[in-house]
């Protein structure tokens, strides 16, 4: 009895002592539920593969993210957990994305991020060390919203802001130089108050030798390099790619003009032969207040390659070649042509990676959003996408761009109603007219008239 009392006292004391420390702890995150209806197979992630006479489908998915930060203003420990499931999924099991079945009880917690952030006292410098979320300065074309392990630093020397970073994509044998690393260095200048210019240099050092894991591989998978492209390259040994680029934004009266461009060069070496990488990307975007709302117009070109027999690869290598969703270009708010910023478990696009399997893309889109009433916001977007070059995109030959590059045109719209602070309910719908690229096979012969695509969702989101 006395022992029990002592234990209770100890617990109460521990809680009391911990309380002041908790004062600098914050909890943020969201729980989002999407009820989908569409005519293409989703509830997963990746490239949409159109087909004929597609049945419609419906399902409900859910994601919860919990961001816990504790520490003080100079140092914080951050843990980001994620729980994903589909309604009616499995129960009494173990595994990510499971646990929505009857009785749930599934071990399904995912560690999204875990890192320490700290500032150097009385300077503008801060460091983030651990598994963290980073994006490039190119709207996610190279890596966007990417969870990666590494060390990133920011500091500012007015008027220049600098970001330096190193990430370990893949650690192979710890006693060999056979890893995949990304290094970044960025400097953002503000030459005038209305203009910001960034000069960036990234370096992708893949010494993984094409080994299974996260090294660049040559195989049939849609998010790896097309073997036909690297013809003659046997036993990929190392890939070294340098990526200099610029980005800018400028306030021009009522509009903001922004954009970026980068060039990717380097070499993919095999034990026999090698390929020179020569990809490039350009993007231009205008945002403006138009009438009662705001609108945007954006065009992006990602280079592709249409010559499989030479020793040049004119597409771009992105983090999407290393893992699905490593590259995530989504800011034109498409629901079908490209992945969407609002995606959770179900995340699809006619092209999921702007490299588009080596074919590249040309995409133009516009959108408009406005407050319809005090708590009601509406938005509409329209976009067109095509491959940058004629070429077969994958070995499967299900669809390709051998004869036609047009992939599709999309319109979508949504309205969101704010029920109370943080809680929104929204209705989303999108429709895409498939381009002619989906009608032909690798020889250019018309094979079938694939169905246009549509999708819709009812979304409930609580952000806290």
């Amino acid at each position: 009895m006395r022992k029990g009392f002592l234990i209770m006292v100890a617990v109460v004391l521990a809680a009391a002592l911990a309380a002041p420390a908790m004062a600098d702890t914050s909890l943020n995150g969201f729980i989002r539920t999407n009820g989908w209806m569409s005519n293409f197979v989703a509830n997963s992630a990746g490239y949409i593969q159109p087909n004929k006479d597609l049945p419609s489908n419906s399902y409900v998915e859910e994601r919860g993210r919990f961001l816990i930060k504790t520490g003080n203003e100079n140092v914080k420990a951050v843990y980001f957990a994620e729980f994903d499931q589909s309604f009616g999924g499995q129960a009494y099991t173990t595994g990510r994305n499971l646990g929505g079945g009857l009785e749930a009880d599934t071990t399904n917690i995912e560690t999204k991020n875990i890192y320490v952030w700290f500032k150097v006292p009385n300077t503008s410098a801060d460091f983030t060390v651990g598994v963290q979320n980073q994006s490039d300065s190119y709207a996610g074309v190279l890596f966007g919203y990417t969870d990666l392990a590494g060390v990133f630093a920011n500091f500012k020397v007015e008027p220049v802001a600098v970001r330096l970073g190193w990430s370990k994509f893949w650690e192979n044998a710890i006693n060999k130089a056979d890893d995949v690393d990304l290094y970044i260095a960025e400097a953002k200048f503000t030459p005038t108050k209305d203009v910001k210019i960034g000069a960036n240099l990234y370096f992708l050092n893949d010494m993984g030798g094409g080994a299974k894991g996260n090294a660049l591989q040559i195989n049939n998978a849609i998010n790896t390099v097309n073997p036909a492209e690297f013809s003659g390259v046997t036993a990929l040994r190392k890939v070294r790619v340098y990526i200099p680029g610029v980005d800018f934004s400028a306030n021009l009266g009522p509009a903001t003009l922004s954009g970026f461009a980068f060039y990717e060069f380097g070499k993919a070496e095999g034990t026999a032969n090698s390929v020179d990488v020569k990809g490039y990307v350009g993007d231009l975007r205008a945002d403006a207040n138009l009438g009662p709302g705001k609108g945007f117009l954006e065009a992006i070109y990602v280079s592709g390659d249409d010559n499989k027999t030479d020793t040049d690869y004119k597409g771009v290598i992105t983090a999407g070649n290393y893992n699905l969703a490593g590259a995530f270009y989504c800011r034109t708010n498409m629901m079908i042509l490209l992945p969407n910023p609002d995606d959770i478990n179900s995340s699809y696009g006619l092209t999921y990676d702007p490299a588009n399997g080596g074919a590249g893309i040309f995409h133009v889109a516009g959108g408009y959003s406005m407050k319809l009433m005090d708590k009601l916001v509406g938005a509409a977007n329209v976009g067109y996408i095509q491959a940058a070059k004629n070429r077969a995109r994958d070995q499967g030959g299900v669809y390709n761009f051998a004869k036609d590059k047009a992939m599709g045109t999309e319109i979508n719209a949504n309205v969101n109603y704010n029920i109370t602070k943080g809680l929104d309910i929204g209705v989303y719908a999108g429709y895409a007219w498939l381009g002619s690229a989906y009608d032909t096979d690798s020889t250019g012969a018309v094979t079938q008239d694939n169905d246009n695509l549509w999708t819709s969702k009812l979304r409930l989101n609580y952000a806290f």
Partner: protein, 549 residues
């Protein structure tokens, strides 16, 4: 028995003498403004479509009784369906005629009266009162009768005496109504002149050694159907009467403080696309009247603007400025507008500037000597920045993004950080690109500035809101309790001197009336959110008038 009778008579004589001795003290010239206390009151007219005829019909009689009680006035009530009021009043041989109307004012009512000097035909005075509800109209007659008694009949202290009682929970000292000797009161207990000996002088200012000990609620406005995110004093006289301004997402509400009343005056609204991040008052054009600088965001663009004082209203100037704006009170001895640009993908960019006004445009002047590259200003920007002299040094008060009260050195280095949270934000704005990780755009919380008050020997005071939050509760507007506190800087830290009772409502801002000065009985105005808007409940807020004792 005889001695008892004599003593009794002596007391009576002494009492009469004492009473008489008060007559010259409290009685005033019968016609301070040149008018005798004889007045006719015509029936009031209702200018609203609402059915308030029953209330309006009794106003003349109620006003008459109050004027008779307060000023001993001889009042003639004119019949409703008689001849013309002027003719009827002249026939009654009274020199003044009071006519009144009741009209709709927003969700409340305005009671307006004019008094005509029948001899000259000119207006002797105009008086008004605002009522939040129909029931409040009668309550506001006290204010009207007090003003008329004081300004027309010269009854000193009548306005104060007739101020409405403090609302529940507030306590205020009982007010002795001065009544001229021999005048019977009507409609209530006879008012008796104070006979107690004058109290010993007590310190009334900080310099005299007065120490604030409590902050009490003495009045409140009507309900404002909005979430109000802050409050700032406009043109306010030394007694704390005048204009105060509060704002919601896209509406500025101008109120007038008169005694313990907080009355709606006007409002300035913009479309739903607009988002007012801050509203501040400063005399920009040197006309002695405070103008308004409004930090406004339309979509993602800063479109801040200036409203210049014109007569009783405000006129918008055509310029739009891409700056976050805040007024720094007493920076280098003067009030200045501080401005900081919005960045391209971040909430703030570069230095904070003292802005210049050329009559049309706000432009950058000299940069403030603050390092905006280091915490806490690097994260929090210009909002909540407030110059202060603590001890003998010029410093800054600041509420950081974690809502801790800071003292910054002249260059911006933090020298003090509070444990508790002060100046907490009730509003925020989003900026930059959508974060997939957190499922929303980054946001920036709009903390409210602490109000610095100079004290003796460097013992500065700070008036600020305090918001207590749960251990891990950091959602905007989520809190356990809030209140207004008065802190004193001593020994390198702040200690509490006075505070209002804890409230379940959210105190979103506070300001002193007039700003920067405090003495015993000083008043402060606070913005209070009663209900955050949602699909379940309508937004509701109010302004609360506080008194420091």
């Amino acid at each position: 028995m005889r001695s008892h009778f004599v003593r009794h008579k002596a007391f009576q004589v002494l009492g009469a003498l004492l009473l008489l001795s008060f007559v010259p003290v409290f009685s005033v010239p019968a016609s301070a403004a040149g008018y005798s206390r004889r007045i006719a009151i015509a029936p009031f007219a209702s200018l609203t479509k609402e059915d308030i005829g029953a209330t309006v019909s009794v106003l003349p009689r109620l006003l008459a009784s109050r004027l008779m009680a307060l000023a001993g006035a001889d009042v003639v009530l004119l019949p409703a369906d008689g001849k013309a009021p002027e003719a009827a009043a002249k026939e009654a041989k009274v020199p003044l005629l009071l006519q009144g109307t009741v009209s709709k004012l927003g969700k409340g009512y305005s009671v307006d009266t004019t008094v005509t000097d029948l001899e000259t035909g000119k207006t002797a005075g105009a008086f008004f009162a605002a009522a939040a509800t129909e029931d409040d109209i009668i309550a506001q007659l006290g204010v009207l009768s007090g003003e008329i008694s004081e300004k027309l009949f010269g009854v000193q202290g009548a306005i104060r005496a007739t101020a409405p009682p403090a609302s529940a929970g507030a306590s205020s000292a009982p007010v002795m109504v001065p009544v001229p000797a021999g005048i019977p009161s009507i409609g209530g207990a006879p008012a008796v002149a104070a006979q107690a000996p004058p109290p010993a002088p007590v310190p009334a200012t900080l310099d005299e050694g007065w120490t604030p000990s409590s902050i009490k609620k003495v009045g409140q406005s009507d309900k404002i159907a909005d979430e109000i995110y802050g409050v700032v004093a406009g043109d306010v006289d030394a007694d704390g009467n005048g204009e105060v301004l509060t704002w919601g997402r896209n509406t500025i509400y101008v109120y007038r403080v008169k005694g313990t009343d907080v009355l709606p005056y006007t409002r300035i609204s913009r479309g739903v696309q607009n988002h007012f991040l801050n509203v501040d008052a400063i005399d920009l054009d040197g006309d002695g009247k405070k103008d308004l600088v409004v930090t406004d965001r339309e979509g993602d663009r800063m479109v801040s603007f200036v409203l210049l004082r014109k007569g009783d209203g405000f006129a918008e100037t055509p310029g739009r400025f891409p700056y976050h704006l805040a007024v720094l009170r007493g920076w280098n001895g003067k009030n200045v507008v501080a401005g900081q640009r919005q960045g391209n993908s971040e909430p703030f960019q570069g230095k904070i500037y003292a802005m210049k006004w050329d009559g049309k445009v706000l432009s950058e002047g000299e940069p403030l000597p603050l390092n905006t590259s280091i915490l806490p200003v690097s994260a929090g920007g210009v909002y909540s920045l407030s110059p202060a002299v603590l001890g003998s040094d010029g410093q800054w008060l600041y509420v950081d993004v974690e809502e801790k009260l800071r003292v910054l050195g002249a260059g911006g280095k933090s020298v003090y950080r509070s444990k508790d949270t002060f100046g907490a934000a009730s509003d925020r704005f989003e900026y930059g690109e959508f974060s997939r990780l957190e499922g929303r755009r980054p946001f920036f919380v709009l903390r409210r500035p602490p109000r610095w008050i100079s004290g003796p020997k460097g013992a500065s005071l700070v008036l600020v809101t305090e918001v207590r939050k749960g251990l891990v509760s950091n959602a905007l507007g989520s809190f356990e309790s809030s209140r207004v506190v008065l802190l004193q800087w001593e020994g390198g830290g702040f200690s509490e001197r006075a505070g209002s009772p804890k409230s379940d409502l959210f105190f979103s801002g506070v300001d002193l009336l007039p700003p920067g000065k405090m003495r015993r009985g000083s008043r402060a105005i606070a913005s209070v959110i009663e209900e955050a808007g949602s699909a379940f409940k309508e937004k509701a807020s109010q302004l609360v008038l506080l008194r420091v004792e």
